[in-house]
Every structure is written in C-alpha cells, then in structure tokens.
Amino acid sequence: MKSVKVVIWLMLCVMVLSACSGGGEAVETNASDADTSQDTASEEEADTEEADTTESSEPIELNIGWSGDVAHWDPYNDPTVHQYVTGYLLYDTLIAQDLEGNFIPQLATEWSFTEDFTEWSFKLRDDVTFSNGEPFNAECVKTSFDRLMTETLAVSTEWKELTDVIVVGDYEVKLIFSGPNGGVLFNTAMLPMLPAQYFAEVGVEGITINPVGSGAFVLSDYEKGQKMEFTKRQDYWGDQSDFDKITFYIISEGTTRIAGLQTGDVNFAYSITPDQFAVLADNPTFAAYELTGTMDQTFFGVKCDEFPFDDVRVRTALSLALDRQELVEQVVGVGDIATSCFPKGCLGYDESIAYPARDVALAQQLLEESGYNGEEIVLICPIGWYPKMQEQAEAMIAQLSEAGFNIKLEMLEPAGYLDARNVTGEYNLFFTAMSQPQGYPNVFLTQRVENDANLTGYVNEHLNSLIAEARLNADLDILQGIYAEVNQIMTEEYAPHIWLYQYAPLSVYNADELVLTDEAMIRDGRFHFENIEWVGGN
C-alpha cells in the first residue's frame, strides 16, 4: 500500500517539475522515434560536417506535417488541395506554367491550335516512362482525355466540349472540341497524364488505390489518415529533387504539427496560424513562409435578387463598412486585403481597380437612402473550412453594425452550408474562399457568375458576354484585357461577390535544413515540395 502511494507521488512530482522547467528554446532536433524507415536529416554528425558531395549514406528526407489526407489516388476525381499538391510528385502534365503565367513544355514539347480554338495539337516527349516502366506516348494522352468524356468526374466540367482525341502518331495527339475552348492550355496544365496499359489492366479502381505516374516520385507507402510517403525515382526524365524521400504526416491539429517540428519528427509544418508560430518566433532554427502568391481570396456571396442586397447602395454600404485591414491584421493574422475581385497574379488583376477605403459615415448615408432600417440579414458560414471562422465572422459583424447592419450569423456544418448556398438559396450573405488555379478565372466566372451556381440571382448580360468571349481566347494579353473589364464591373457593382482578403497560409520549416525559393512555388501559391532545397547535412 505504501509503495503504491510512493509511486503515485513520484509520478506527480515528475510532471510538476517538468512543467516548471525553463521554456522558450527549441529542443535540439533528435532522431525520430523507433520507425526505422525514417531517418531525420539532423543527425549529430551532420552539424559539423559539410554535405558530402559523393554518395550520401543517409537518405535525405523531407518530412512534412500536413493537415489532411487525399480521399483516394484518382487525380481526376478528388478535388482537394491534398490531391493537387501530392499529384505534382506523382504525375506530370503535358504543359506547365511558370511563375509569370507563361506556358512551358513538360510532357508536350510543342503545341498548336486552330483559329477557332476547336482543334488542339500536342507533340510529345519520347523519353518518358511511368514508374512501372510503361513508356509514355500518344495512347496515354488519349486514355487520359477519354476518361473526361466517358466518366462523371470532378474535373469533367472544364472539358465538356471535348468530343474526340485522335492519335496522330506515337508522339502526337489532337484534341477536338465541339465549340471554341480558349482555356485548353490552362486546363491541360492541371491534368495529369495516366499510363494507358496500366489503366486498361486495373481500371479506375486500380489507380484509386495504386497510382502510377510519370512524375519524379512514386508512392512507396500509404497509411490512410496517417502518412503518404513518396520515394524518388532514379529514372525520372526531368530534374532530380534533393530529397530521396518526401513524407506527408497527416496531423490535423496545428499545435501538434508545431510540436513535430520542435522534436524533429518533421522539418516542414504546413498551415500554421500566427499565434501557433509565436511559440517558435524567437528560435532562429525555424523560419516562417507566408504563401503570399496564393490565388485564394475570401469573399461574401451576396443575394442580389432579394431585399436588401437587390439595391446596389446597400451592397456598396456593406463594402464601405468593412475594415479589411483590421480583419487581416487583428483576426486572421496573415495575408493581405483584397483590393478587387481578382488577386494579384491572376488574369484580370489591375492595381487601378480597387474598392474604396472604409467610410462608415458614407455607408450609413447609403443605407438611409436605400430604405434599409436594420432588417435582419442572414450570414451563413461553414464550420471547419477556414481558420478562426467564428472569430472572423464576429469581427466583420461588429464592423458592419457600426454602419447600421443587423446581421445574424449562422455557423453551419459543411453539408448544411452547401445545401443553403447551392440548393435552397436560403441566405443573404455567405462566406467562402475561392482559388483561381494557375491564375485563370474562367471556371470560377463561368460557374459562379454566368451560371450562378450559388443562386445569388445576379444577372448582367454584358458581364456574361465578356466571360463567354474570354473562353474563345488563349492569348494572355487579350485575356488580361477582358478579365480586367470583368473585374471592373464586378468591383463597381459589388456583385455578386464582395471580396475580403487574400489568404496566405503560413508554413514553418527548419531553416537549418531547408531553403524555399521561387522554384518551390507553384504559380497559384502551392508548393512544389520536390523543388525545396536541402541545406542540411547528410
């Protein structure tokens, strides 16, 4: 009995003493725990020796604390950012975009199109193999595009005018469209190519579980909800990554991702809030990277066919009453205010097009003129999609109430939110974010403005004609002009969206081991993890 008491008291003492020990310094990174497949790069000998230029004995690993899992491995049917990012490791596309938005060859070496944009031809590389040894050729391209025509896929909507894929030669294909499609290059830059023979053997079910791509890495280990491990291919046709292995550890709790960074179990922690980063701010080992180049902007969707937002004065008043700067600095903590409908870097962005600065007095005046007398306005927000959603919403409601708006907040779980937003239209305002992948806003504008997928009730024929005209063009300068005019109209109309801020997720990494350069960024602000530079020892 006495011995039990002693043990209990000892346990308590250990915990109390540990909690009271000095803090503020990061613990030296240690070798990670007993998993033998994981060798962290910060072994003791690496601290004092220069990187060995001859063959290294220890594999160089990038271990990422990541926030979520792919649904499965079919890149055509999982629209999550997790699939998007890991897809860059596994797969290649026919073309890519550099950071300025110019199209550059990848699996295709050159391309051309007819004047009416209904036929697109691609000449292909002849030196590429998939990770299973199957050669890449025109049949693979045909297999990939055929899926878009025969299956109901998450990516199908961008390809609904595709009617045929012709194999011209072993390394040349032609895509035939029923109507003009100016967005083919943009959409092709996001479509991974699949292996024809492998797909024929295993079908959709096979690639959903065992993906095979032509990319720089192969999926070497996958534990659902736990980790995604990618191993470098020695026979990759393109530039080799510094890393022999890239592992995504799926850790949904940001504080735990930070802890993993401090213990050395990960050397890159994705999507950390500024208050979480504050724990590491004084430690020079860790650096923060704010993804300022993202095309993610948050906005209010506005119900434009119902009182009170059927009146442009009320919509204007809403925008004037918002303090976007305060929202970014005091609540969100990262990012930049949205000046107009399109973020910097996106086609259509023009720094001369901007919302007026906050003016509460003018907002009050406009509300008075419009006849709005404090009637309840329903704002719906999704739970769990965006960090600090409740805090953001409450801050904005407080700002808007200064001008006289009476807003009722409804925090809805995702299914209910999407139901209200896309099916029943039971809202006055909704909060969401939108990314313009590759800086090409066609899909967003077609679906959310021209087709009004969110039931805002906003109709502007001139705007719709501009959106349709943009689809007929592939020239970046022409597209910039058209989309700038679209931006101007929507900014001045405050419809159907009022844009809030450009979201810039914060990532934290071990600066003793990693260097992030522009090469590591995708144009829309996501990471090319394979292009991060390794500067640690081996």
Binding site: I8, S18, H72, P79, I209, T256, T263, D419
Partner: protein, 308 residues
C-alpha cells in the same frame, strides 16, 4: 449461462437493427446532398443528377434501406462515396487502433483509480483521501484538448521522451492513453472511494473485524468485492463510449482510429460509410454490454439465477 447469452444475443440483433433504422432515417432527414461534397461547385446540375442516380439516392428510402441491409447480411457493407473503397476495409483498418487506445486507456485508468480509490476509502480524511478528491474533480474537469497538448509539450518537446503524433512507435500509445484515461480514472476513483466508504461502514465489516480478520483481507476479500459491480458497469459504458467517441484524442495525436474516420464521413455525408460505422459500433457496444453482464455473474453468482 448459455440461456443468458442466447437471450441477450437475440435482443442484440433487434437493438442493432433498431440503431441502423434510426441512423438511416436521421441521415435521410438531415440537410445536405452528398453530391455537393463529392463534386466541385463548378459541376452542373445534370452531373449532380447523374451522380445521384448512380449512387441510388433517388430510390425510395425503404427500398434503399432494405437493399443496404440485404447486402450487409451477405457481408457487404457497401462502398464509401469519399474514399471509393469498401467500407469494411476502411472500418477494420481503423477499428483495431481504436480498440488498442480504448483498452490502454481503460487499463491505465484502473491501474490508477482502483488503488487510489481503495486507499482513499480506507484512509478517509488523510492526505491521500484529499488528493483523490482533488484528482477526481480535476480529472473530470480537464479538457482532453488541453491535457493532450500539455502532454505533448512536456514529454515530446521538452523531455524528448515520447513521439508527438502517429502510431508508428510502441511508445506512441502512452500519451493518447493518458489523455483518454485520466477522466475515466477520475470517475472510477470517486466511485471506488465512495463505494469503499459505504461498504466499510456496514455491520458485516464490523463483524469481520470483531472476528480478528486482518485489515488487508477485510478490504480486498470482503469490502472491495461489493464495490466492483458499479465499477464494472461504469468501465463497460465508458469503454464502449471510447470506441466511438475518442475523436478529439485521435485528432490531437493523429491516432489512426475510427473516430476520425467517423467524423470525416459525417462531414462528407458519406451515407454508406456512416451507416456501416454505426452498425459496427452498435454491434461492438452490444457485445461489450453482454460481456459486462456475463462478468457480473462471475463477480456475484447470485445474479446468475436472477438474470437467466
């Protein structure tokens, strides 16, 4: 005993069926269309309608339910909308991890709570008793989020003793077990203490003391046996609850349990996966309750006659 088990198994079937019907009905009535979560916003209505047709969402509810139950009886739990994999694979990949976590938490809590509760009951008013009351109150008030993060900070970041996340190392189970086990330990401590105090004040205990039986024997052979029944009840209920309800702990430690899978399925309106998880969990809970009932009859043979 055999009759007891048989009777309980028969009623278990009805319980599980009842749960599946209620779950099915609630899902059908809840707002939200799975196609909104499977397809992007940009998908036109025609594609959504086609997908609803493919997923069988346009069929009448009773027909959908009967089809689902028919498949379950053939051993087919259906396919997840989200993961495009058989639900049975997904569930039985995760369930062992949750069982491990729940079992570890239960064992840890018993290891702490039983000795502490007995001591507190025997040495009423002592420092140990005061501590046990404090522990009982604090343990049940602690937020698992706070406790989990604190444990990570102390044992992973500061002491580098334990891995902060995952389940790859044998040591990974320790902190999640503590996080899940402390509230349960607090509850059992209070229960044990209160039970011991009650029993030790009974006349038959006085009689055993008068007979000259040692204190140790009085506590463990006579007193504690009368306290076990409510403890077993609570442990059984909590264990069953932890099988399906340890989502918070699993999220903090990135533990690959079924809680996370369940939460994601609900989030995505993945009807087949939700129904299958509910079916499996309700079956597990019924079996746990049956095990508790059987355990009662071993602890107190008088119950064998009354229950059969």
């Amino acid at each position: 005993m055999a009759r007891l088990i048989f009777n309980r198994l028969i009623s278990a079937i009805f319980v599980v069926l009842g749960v599946s019907i209620i779950c099915f009905a609630i899902l059908a009535l809840a707002p939200g269309d799975p196609t909104q979560l499977i397809l992007p916003d940009s998908a036109p209505q025609a594609e959504r309608d086609k997908l609803r047709e493919e997923l069988g969402l346009n069929e009448p509810l009773p027909e959908r339910y009967l089809l689902y139950i028919g498949n379950v009886l053939k051993g087919d739990l259906g396919t997840s909308y989200t993961y495009k994999q058989p639900n049975s694979e997904l569930i039985f990949q995760k369930l062992p991890h949750t069982f491990l976590l729940a079992t570890s938490a239960m064992l840890l809590s018993l290891l702490i709570a039983i000795p502490l509760g007995i001591l507190a009951g025997v040495k009423r008013g002592s420092l140990t008793d005061v501590f046990s009351m404090f522990f009982g109150m604090l343990g049940q008030s602690l937020s698992p989020v706070w406790l989990g993060i604190l444990l990570i900070y102390i044992f992973s970041v500061k002491l580098s003793m334990l891995p902060p996340f995952g389940a790859e190392s044998p040591l990974s189970i320790i902190m999640p077990s503590i996080t899940l086990g402390i509230p349960l330990a607090a509850l059992i401590t209070r229960l044990t203490r209160a039970g011991m105090i009650d029993v030790l004040s009974e006349d038959f205990i006085t009689a055993t003391k008068a007979k000259g039986i040692t204190n140790r024997k009085i506590v463990f052979k006579y007193a504690f046996k009368n306290v076990i029944i409510p403890i077993v009840t609570v442990v059984g209920l909590q264990f069953a609850g932890n099988i399906g309800g340890s989502i918070v702990t699993e999220e903090i430690f990135a533990w690959p349990g079924i809680g996370r899978l369940f939460a994601t399925a609900i989030y995505n309106r993945d009807y087949p996966l939700i129904q299958s998880i509910m079916l499996v969990l309700s079956t597990v809970m019924v079996l746990i309750n049956l095990s508790v009932d059987i355990l009662y009859t071993f602890i107190d043979p008088r119950l064998r006659e009354s229950r059969t």
